[in-house]
């Protein structure tokens, strides 16, 4: 079945809610579903299970901890990842820590859904890719699907899981149509997908960056460079092995991340490879990321800071230039 990413999210929610009456969804404006990914759920499952809340992110994240402690599977929609900052206390001090702090007594099956990233002139307060701070907390899964199938399969896995997970969808686009396997489609966390097989360089591309990475690979192929494109699908847990195996083959690594460079996901992945895959590397690793700036409103300025196929292509070419002379 072909579905857009936000439809896949809606499908996953509906299936999991049907499967388990303990799944509860709440958030600001989830009933009409401003982002579209929850369209129809309120009508189907009613007020007890799909509920609009007041605007109070600090309480929404804290309440998730309490509701999960009371035995529910909690799904919270937070609209934009910038609003994680507003609800950060319970994320940083409770959700990510309580399981250890209680000596393992507590289980927190919480799934937070939010859009992230730029590209729509939403300006700085609605365009952050605010997952690196989540990755640094420990104790929280971070999911960044790039296809409809993964969106559905990862979200279902998260909702059924027993740990807090953040599910990040590219903001406000709905995504391209994508084929979704029939039946109870689950995607395990921590297993990367190889989106394109290649021999000359490994391109790890996160979430919305998979698409420009694939088009970069396309144009690299025309120039005789064979890029392998890996979509980690989840940043926590992270599939080190897949990336290391690819770099062992190619000798080169480019990480493409829409989050800012400093302490971003690309830094983490670069560090892992520089630590564990050093002997495979034939040249420097490259991060293609958003620089350390707030996202500007003007589309030309925004386009300048967000990674795109051109920058990815250039980064790969700069690397493979190290060990090959162009044909």
């Amino acid at each position: 079945m072909e579905r857009r990413l936000i439809q896949a999210v809606g499908d996953a929610l509906a299936e999991e809610m049907r499967r388990d009456p303990k799944v509860i969804v709440y958030g600001e404006d989830v009933e009409l579903s401003i982002t579209g990914d929850m369209r129809g759920l309120h009508e189907t499952f009613g007020h007890d299970r799909v509920r609009n809340t007041p605007i109070c992110e600090a309480t929404l994240t804290g309440m998730a901890v309490g509701l999960a402690s009371a035995g529910y599977r909690v799904v919270v929609h937070m609209m934009f990842s910038n609003f994680f900052y507003t609800g950060m206390d319970a994320i940083g001090n409770q959700m990510s820590k309580l399981r250890l702090m209680t000596g393992g007594q507590v289980e927190l099956p919480i799934t937070i859904i939010a859009g992230y990233g730029g590209g729509a002139a939403n300006a700085a307060q609605h365009s952050d890719s605010a997952y690196p701070m989540l990755m640094n907390l420990g104790g929280i899964n971070v999911l960044t699907p790039s296809t409809s199938a993964d969106a559905k399969g990862l979200l279902k896995t998260a909702i059924r899981g027993r740990n807090p997970s953040f599910f990040l969808e590219p903001s406000g686009r709905g995504g391209d149509l994508g084929e979704i396997p029939d039946g109870d489609h689950l995607v395990p966390l921590g297993v990367a997908a190889i989106r394109r097989v290649g021999a000359d360089a490994t391109v790890v591309a996160i979430g919305r960056m998979v698409k420009p990475a694939l088009s970069a690979a396309e144009s690299l192929a025309e120039q005789g460079v064979s890029a392998e494109v890996i979509d980690p699908r989840t940043l926590v847990p992270f599939d080190d092995a897949a990336v290391l195996a690819s770099v062992e083959k190619t000798g080169h690594l480019v990480v493409v991340d829409e989050a800012r460079e400093c302490c971003g996901a690309a830094s983490q992945i670069a560090a892992v490879v520089a630590e564990k895959g050093f002997s495979s590397l034939k040249g420097p690793v490259r991060r293609v990321t958003t620089p350390n700036v707030a996202i500007p409103y003007a589309p030309n300025a925004e386009a300048r800071v967000l990674p795109d196929a051109e920058r990815i292509t250039a980064a790969v070419l700069a690397l493979v230039g190290h060990d090959r002379v162009p044909a």
Binding site: I34, I55, C56, A58, Q125, V293, P296, P299
Partner: protein
């Protein structure tokens, strides 16, 4: 609710009425906001504006009635729905339009956009995309004003939805404790996005301020003179060291939450057309216009002159914006820090 309940008003000056000149100025200012936003509505629909726009149509009396009492030295913080506050507080129309058109001539050089128009030279600390964020910023500015000790005032505009953010209570507390020259202005337009306020708001918002014994007034937010009167007292109180006040203005959002709403909702509904129509009857501009005519303050010609002047300004501003240079893409990296400095 359209009653005007005044709980307490220590230090209030004698209630005065706006002069003829002031009435005409209120009218023109409201009209300027309206015509500007109608233009934004149309240009947004036509796909000529890069980002989302949130319009203030129907709520103009609040910003205009309040800001009539402020000078450039006073501070104001605003919301995602900030064009009205910006213009009412004296922000430059051309620079605002250029901003929304993402031009280098924009008030924020194209870096902010519709949701973030700010003019520090006018005390406009900025529209804000984070619901509730203006509250603490306004309190901080009020703290500065109090330390300066020269009678400056800080005003915080925020919505009924924002009133559910806990920072409201925090700032009611801090401003009361420190006797800050702050005026809280809650624009209760009955919606948070597509959620009717009553579904997410327990009790009365004004009561949350009354719990701090803060002078609190509820006012018909579609009656600019009523707003002007209530705000005048609150601003005077703040200026004269009487501390913070709270104003809840009851009004209504005529447009959608933002201009792409119909597309986003794809048929989903959250209000009746009749409700919108009923509120159109209470249009603050039409109401003042009718009053000006019926009381003989102005004749048809005067109002027509104003209409023409406003239309000209809006036209000029759009032309200014369109003629501007594209934003400078290098600014993002250049502006993050004040350079050559810690």
């Amino acid at each position: 609710m359209t009653t005007e309940t005044e709980d307490r008003a220590p230090n209030a000056r004698e209630v005065t009425e706006p002069s003829t000149e002031e009435l005409l100025s209120l009218y023109e200012r409201m009209l300027l906001v309206r015509r500007t936003e109608e233009r934004l509505r149309d240009d947004s629909a036509a796909g000529r504006l890069p980002g989302a726009v949130h319009l203030y149509i129907g709520e103009e009396a609040v910003a205009v009635g309040v800001c009539a009492h402020l000078s450039d030295r006073d501070y104001a913080t605003s919301t995602h729905r900030g064009h009205g506050h910006f213009l009412a507080k004296g922000g430059d129309l051309n620079a605002m339009m250029a901003e929304i058109w993402a031009k280098d001539e924009g008030i924020c050089r194209g870096m902010g956009g519709s949701m973030h128009v700010a003019d520090l030279s006018k005390g406009i600390l900025g529209a804000n995309g984070i619901v509730g964020a203006g509250l603490a910023i306004a309190t901080g500015a009020a703290f500065g004003a109090k330390l300066d000790g020269d009678g400056k005032v800080s005003v915080c505009f925020f919505g009924d939805g924002a009133a559910n953010q806990g920072v409201l209570m925090e700032n009611l507390n801090v401003s009361t404790l420190w006797g800050l020259p702050l005026v809280f202005v809650c624009e209760n337009n009955t919606f948070s996005e597509f959620t009717p306020s009553r579904e997410v708001t327990a009790g009365s918002i004004a009561d949350r301020a009354r719990a701090f014994s803060m002078p609190t007034v509820e006012v018909d937010g579609n009656d600019v003179v009523a707003v002007w009167r209530a705000a005048g007292e609150a601003v005077d109180r703040a200026r004269s060291g009487g501390g913070p006040s709270f104003l809840e203005a009851h009004t209504y959002r005529i447009q959608g939450h933002f201009e792409a709403e119909a597309f986003v909702l794809s048929g989903g509904r959250y209000r009746e057309d009749g409700e919108i129509a009923a509120w159109r009857e209470k249009d603050p501009i039409a109401r003042l216009g009718a009053k000006l005519l019926s009381t003989g303050v102005a004749g048809d010609e005067v109002l027509a002159d104003i209409e023409a002047r406003v239309a000209g300004r809006v036209e000029d501003a759009v032309r200014f914006a369109e003629a501007g240079s594209p934003a400078d893409p290098e600014l993002a990296e250049a502006l993050m820090f004040v350079r050559g400095e810690a």
